[in-house]
Symmetry: C2
Subunit: 155 residues, 2 copies
């Protein structure tokens, strides 16, 4: 009984330690993979921004700033760079001309899909050999993390 409890503790520590380091490595690899492709002028942060704009099509600048927890000024600077490089476009809203809606250009969409494909490949490798029940558990684990984040945030 005690041995089992120690084993669980060791498993938890293993998982905790692994999680802390994996993400950094993934970010770094994402950037280096993307720079080997035709999108050599993109940093990890810019990739993240392109991903967000692709996922939330035609959201306003303020909404995207809130999603990414960046100040509006910082986002403006980042958008200038991505617009200059041809990945995103600013669309003035005709109903309310104060508002700018953000969208990807066709080049931006290509980058978005390449990035998404990389993530999909990562997930496939991660779940290699897993059955339906195992995948359900993984989903549950992620939902649990989201709950935890929600709880801590709202406190």
């Amino acid at each position: 009984m005690n041995a089992t409890s120690d084993e669980i503790k060791a498993d938890y520590n293993f998982i905790s330690d692994a999680l802390i380091d994996i993400y950094d490595q993934i970010m770094r690899i994402e950037e280096s993979e993307i720079r080997k492709s035709r999108f050599k002028d993109i940093t990890a942060k810019e990739l993240h921004l392109v991903h967000t704009i692709g996922l939330h099509d035609r959201k306003t600048t303020s909404e995207v700033a809130r999603i990414l927890r960046l100040s509006k000024g910082t986002l403006t600077a980042n958008l200038n760079n991505l617009e200059r490089k041809g990945y995103i476009t600013r669309i003035t809203n005709l109903q309310d001309r104060r508002i700018i809606n953000l969208a990807l250009t066709s080049k931006g969409r290509l980058l978005y899909r390449a990035h998404y494909a990389f993530h999909r490949k990562l997930v496939e490798q991660c779940l290699k050999g897993f059955g339906g029940a195992d995948i359900k558990k993984m989903k549950q684990a992620l939902l649990n993390v989201e709950d935890f984040i929600g709880e801590v945030s709202s406190k």
Copy 2:
């Protein structure tokens, strides 16, 4: 059969999307939780550095720079800040006086443990209600990711 394949695809997409956003939120929450505590002068990046020094006790400056993929100059600057705030200490190596070994102060160790406890709580919530077999699967998934990272990196 086709419906099942579509379901699996949807599950993969769900997991992929969830993973992308969760980490950013965790980083942000970690910082905000730590700033609510007695460690108000610590940023997320500094927390990461304290964690690394705590995990790899008395490693040299160059080794820590390599682990974190920071230039030596950048690390020197970060270390100056953390030393000034009292979280880390530089220990001149007496065998080779060019080398500096890094360690946490007692204040640094308190911060390290608080941070580690937070991660443990996160993992516990994540695996809430999971049995031994499920936890084994989770470990396998993380090992798979590490393999994937290794493969891509070495290519």
